[in-house]
Amino acid sequence: MISLTDVSKSYPGGVTALASVSLEIRRGELVAIVGPSGSGKSTMLNTIGTLDRPSGGTVRIDGYDVSKLSDNQLSALRGTRIGFVFQHFHLAAKVSALDNVADGLLYSGLPLSERRRRARAALDRVGLGHRIDHEPHELSGGERQRVAIARAVAGDPPLVLADEPTGALDSVSGAGVMELLHDLHGSGTTIVIITHDREIAGSLPRQVRMRDGRIVADSAALTGVA
């Protein structure tokens, strides 16, 4: 599903956020990425999500070599194959939960009625079927993150990338969100989660540890899965 080969990323000013990272994640995996602040976790996830292009190396997502795709094709790849979950939700204010989720399908070419139908189904899936008319400010933090997850999965993407999805939540809401992601994994979605929470990281089947832009440990390598 994801294949990074010697991927590096440096920013102007001499910051090397990624230094020759190679990583293989297969379809259906649930992976935690851990590491100290500034170690390059977000940079790697954005590179996987094709939001950022690497300075060097090869990134293959679902079989596509990202460096060979145009902006239009990359956008289509993101729209159809990848769902994003952010630490700060990124929900539109003054817009109902239903339409926030339906907006996740805005660029799919589906008509509005179909987008809303799928949005309703996605909200049911995250247990917010009774909150579809609520606007973000009328929802708790945990509920907001569940709306954001519903938006990420409304189009049934095979890959979900989550950058600290529980970072802004208390432990109870965080546990609810993790349960959702586990369910999603159970239904076959490949999931990559950045987390600072040792407990959460420990509960996931595979952990990748980063430091100074390199992968310093990978639990899959120890058990010989990859």
Binding site: L69, Q73, S75, A76, H90, Y107
Partner: protein, 400 residues
């Protein structure tokens, strides 16, 4: 093994919906920047509309009054004295073939007009007494506001018809046996009051008395000072060329001939030049409105960076982001344009109705205004839209 990827096209309805997001979330700001455009468009529609309506009114007036009137006035001698036309000038002009009708007035400078005997002699008030022929209203298309015109009987009595301005200055509101004024020291009864006379505005400040009574009691010498001539519309130039010689064979160079409808048309031309200037002011207002929209769009893009990043992560292409902000800018200015056309139309209608003119809101001006609006919207939105589309998704998402 991998299928080709292509982003789906957005439906026009979705483009509109997304373009309206900024307007919905910040309605006050949208309203104010649309207002800037609206004021510019309203100014332009109003200026064009009012000037067209006034033009239509003039055309209506001219076709009602006719453009075939020629005015012959006695003018001045080489020595600067008031020239005199012969007493039989009217009769001579009547003999010119294409001439249809002639009427005459004679100014009586020594006969001053007062409200009553108590008013000091120095206060003439700019009013003039004229001896008039009975057919004057027909030839000039003049109408009465109150009372009646002079007739064969009243022209021999101390009876007077007042011009519109004269009646106002003297404080005479209606004709009748009680309404009396003093002319040349004699009491005259006001039998009628004229509406303003478009083709002979001198009469508005006149007090009009019958030819016989003027000769009897006001020391009038019987020489006409102005002749009004209606002639065949197609032969105006021919009539004009012989008129001076006919009116005063001895001193044709002293005679002034004018066509009052030309003066009205010339006045309209001056007004049109002024309209051009006002239109320029309106255009400046419109451009200022456009700058307001551009400013709003730049701020909108700055504020909504994280939204842009999110949309990119949801699969929006650069082109779709560009389209979104361009659509927002076009919507903003189109709203302003539509509002401006409405305001301009209401102002024009209100002013025309107040003035009693026919209301004309030219379709070309409306269409041109709306087209200008869309052009401004496109120009104002282009730069912010391109900037929005060039944002890197990760940087956009990183902004709180």
């Amino acid at each position: 093994m991998t299928a080709p990827l292509a982003a789906a096209r957005m439906r026009p309805r979705d483009v509109m919906r997304v373009g309206a997001v900024g307007l919905r979330t910040r309605p006050m700001r949208a309203f104010l920047s649309a207002l800037g455009i609206a004021i510019g468009i309203a100014a332009m529609i109003g200026v064009v509309g009012i000037s067209s309506s006034s033009g239509a009114e003039l055309d209506r007036q001219l076709s009602a009054l006719g453009t075939n009137l020629l005015t012959v006035s006695s003018g001045q001698t080489i020595l600067g004295e008031e020239a005199k036309m012969p007493v039989d000038a009217e009769a001579m002009i009547e003999r010119i073939g294409p001439v249809q009708a002639v009427s005459a007035i004679g100014e009586i400078p020594q006969a001053k007009v007062y409200r009553s005997e108590q008013i000091a002699a120095a206060q003439t008030g700019g009013l003039t007494t004229y001896a008039v022929r009975l057919d004057l209203p027909e030839v000039l298309g003049a109408t009465l506001r109150s009372g009646t015109w002079l007739n064969a009987a009243t022209q021999t009595y101390p009876a007077v018809v007042l011009g519109a301005t004269t009646a106002e200055r003297l404080g005479v509101s209606a004709a009748g046996p009680d309404a009396q004024v003093v002319i040349g020291g004699e009491r005259f009864t006001v039998v009628g009051i004229l509406e303003p006379v478009a083709l002979a505005s001198d009469l508005d400040t006149g007090a009009l008395v019958g030819w016989p009574i003027a000769e009897d009691v006001l020391d009038y010498d019987g020489h006409p000072t102005t002749l009004y001539t209606r002639a065949d519309e197609t032969r105006m130039e021919a009539v004009r060329s012989v008129l001076a010689g006919t009116a005063n064979p001895e001193a044709s160079n002293e005679v002034d001939i004018s066509r009052p409808s030309d003066a009205l048309a010339a006045k309209q031309a001056t007004e049109q030049a002024f309209t051009g200037l006002l239109l320029g002011v309106g255009a400046v207002a419109l451009i200022v409105g456009g700058v307001g929209v551009a400013n709003t769009m730049v701020i909108s893009v700055l504020e909504r960076r994280s939204e842009i990043g999110l949309r990119r992560s949801l699969g929006a292409t650069r082109g779709q982001i560009r389209t979104q902000f361009l659509a927002e800018s076009l919507l903003l200015s189109a709203m302003g344009g539509a509002g401006g056309v409405c305001i301009g139309a209401v102002v024009t209608t209100g002013y025309a109705v107040y003035k009693g003119w026919p209301t004309i809101i030219p379709a070309e001006a409306t269409a041109g205004g709306l087209a200008a609006t869309l052009l401004i919207g496109a120009v104002a939105g282009l730069y912010p839209a391109i900037r929005a589309s060039r944002l890197s998704p990760t940087e956009a998402l990183a902004t709180p």
